[in-house]
Point group: C2
Chain length 191, copies 2
């Protein structure tokens, strides 16, 4: 019932592993899809069936984590102030088990420090922001397209990126602490 037809030749995970290795060795821009294909042992054409674009490889299965984010926000206590709920949600979303830290740092370094990827990532961020917008809109009885939900989504992303940049700059810092610091810095600044 399940597996008919020709078996798959590779997997998202394998491609990701190989690609990350090559990116680390030569830099993102110097690695071609053909290079990756050879190294994986698969046709170039096939790579494009696993990842829409070369830029999407570093993002992996990001879209599937967004459902988790939605759940996190939905389960926040109702009596929490909205900004606190969103902030804690963002913090939770960016928690990773200790053994995943190293690879997560590598992935984020690639995404945040490669200009090509910085640009492409906006499209991914948009989906993440939409999750926040929808949550804020629902709690305030507004539409997701309204100014305030939009603003909150954009600002939440601004804080997250600021924290991530700090985290990448100094390996000894804690991402959650930086998120808190960015938030409290902003509040003081606006006072």
């Amino acid at each position: 019932m399940s597996s008919r037809g020709r078996p798959v030749a590779t997997s998202h995970a394998e491609i990701e592993r190989v690609a990350f290795r090559l990116f680390a060795e030569r830099g993102f821009d110097a690695v071609t899809m053909a290079d990756i294909a050879v190294e994986v042992g698969v046709g170039r054409r096939t790579l494009f069936r696993y990842f829409e674009s070369k830029n999407d490889i570093p993002w992996g299965q990001f879209d599937r984590t967004l459902d988790g984010f939605r759940t996190i926000l939905a389960e926040m206590p109702e009596d929490l102030p909205l900004h606190e709920a969103v902030h804690r949600g963002v913090r939770r979303f960016n928690e990773f088990p200790a053994d995943a830290q190293a690879s997560h740092r590598m992935r984020m370094r690639l995404i945040l420090e490669t200009p090509t990827l910085q640009a492409h990532s906006v499209l991914r961020y948009a989906e993440w922001r939409a999750v926040i917008e929808e949550h804020v809109a629902a709690r305030l009885d507004l539409e997701p397209g309204d100014l305030l939900p939009r603003t909150v989504g954009n600002v939440a992303l601004a804080l997250a990126i600021s924290a991530y940049e700090g985290w990448l700059a100094d390996p000894d810092t804690d991402l959650a602490a930086l998120l808190d610091e960015a938030m409290s810095g902003l509040r003081d600044y606006l006072r």
Copy 2:
């Protein structure tokens, strides 16, 4: 002294005009650089000497406006609270004479609603954010790379984009008013 050698065949302004017309007619992605070259009456190769990339055409001479932005911020009264100075600076930077509104709206619509350009624009935004970061760092006696200046830069951009999106959605609104509204919305939200 001044003009030796073969005279130029076109100008940034002319290319921009032609390109915008074609973008409006067929959509950004459906217009190739070859199309623009033909319409301008110039070689394709020459286009790339005037604009680094197709994505840069809608941004025009943006980098040259950044000096103006720097000046605007530098000339803000010292006794103004920093967040107020930055906010007013952003508002001033986005003031356009009445007769330029229509074309500015068109440009921003292109930039903010075309996915390809949304992505590319991050790189332009980075230069804009850097102006704010430097100003904030200078006033607070910090480094531009420090968390707070970074955060302020990112948040200022977040507010500006939110306002622009609202402005594009409703042609009757005033951009300056939307910037104010986004800012006050954020302050209330964080309270």
